[in-house]
């Protein structure tokens, strides 16, 4: 075989290996966050009845996706607004939820906005939760604020988004004495 064929093959192999190493050592933050959210949905989901030890271990794994000062604000129709403050409170709640015995959680249509410094990001997604055997499912649009701490993306803030708002842009602007353009559905 001619020498130039070997040179071209070697150059191609070098490019492929260099590209792979680049992805391994400098991963795209968007891919990392999407992977992390996929892992979170798997960790939150419960496949079946768990032993008390597994409940603690799995709840701890879920809590690890969040920062120590995590703030969760839940405001959904038909229930009073709820707040969870801190990883410890979240851990306790995660343990109680895991007693249900079965839960399938999916994050759908994830839209990510990464800050220019690539240290924080905002995720807008739709959560779908289903208890096996139950006809109804929970569907909720959510906004997550993520921060990169010590090389790991963790969720610092979670809030529910009202797809259908109770106030229009004009009314909200009057209420807030604000006169700019903004997304009406983020409050």
């Amino acid at each position: 075989m001619k020498a130039w064929v070997w040179r071209v093959a070697g150059a191609l192999a070098f490019i492929v290996i260099a590209g792979w190493l680049w992805i391994v050592f400098f991963p795209n933050p968007e891919h990392v966050i999407r992977k992390r959210l996929a892992e979170l949905s798997k960790s939150v989901s419960i496949s079946g009845k768990e032993s008390p030890l597994a409940v603690v271990a799995n709840a701890s794994r879920v809590a690890d996706f969040f920062t120590a000062d995590i703030e969760i604000r839940i405001d959904v129709p038909g229930a009073s607004a709820q707040a969870i403050n801190g990883r410890e409170e979240l851990f306790q709640i995660a343990q109680r939820v895991r007693m249900i015995g079965g839960l399938d959680v999916r994050f759908l249509d994830i839209n990510l906005t990464i800050a220019p410094d690539k240290k924080s990001a905002e995720a807008n997604l739709t959560l779908r939760a289903k208890v096996p055997g139950d006809r109804d499912q929970i569907v909720q649009e959510m906004k997550l604020l993520l921060n990169k701490l010590e090389g790991t993306w963790r969720i610092q803030r979670v809030e529910t988004v009202k797809t259908l708002s109770q106030l229009g842009k004009t009314e909200f602007a009057k209420l807030m004495n604000f006169d700019g353009d903004f997304n009406c559905c983020g409050f």
Binding site: L108, N124, L125, D136, T163, L164, C184, C185
Partner: protein
Amino acid sequence: MSMATNGGSEAPPWLRTVLIGRNPKRTAIRIVVLIVVSIIVFRFILLPIKVEGLSMMPAYKANRVNFVNRVAYLFHAPARGDVVAIRTSGISIMFMKRIIALPGETVSFHNGHAMINGNELEEPYVRYACNWELPPRVLGQDEYYFVGDNRAMPAADHTQGIASRAKIVGKVLL
């Protein structure tokens, strides 16, 4: 002895004819065209959906298949009474609601009746009486008010409210 021949080649077996036709090349082109047309139609024009939940009862029952016409509002604005799909963070899961108030209007509920600019809205599609009382809300220039037909549940439990035109994915077809 005489035999009928077809250009010297044997006639294809009936199963082969049914599955791939007399001309496999033409059949392959037809399949590709069909796949491309289906992807375009069912992704960008008529979005297939499965209805879940009870909020649009009795007009739209749970577990029925329907379609969202994504090009319905290309040439005209959404109208009052239209049943539309409203996007969440995407279109994997959408809300299916009816438009009852248009941009610039004031909407409220009094004694279970929808009031538009202070006048009662006639809603033949609402079959279950309710006693909803909701204060007036003024809609912005690109905002619509969406509510389900099933008003049997308390207003607080019923997902309803305001969203901008951009949130409307399309009109529910059937």
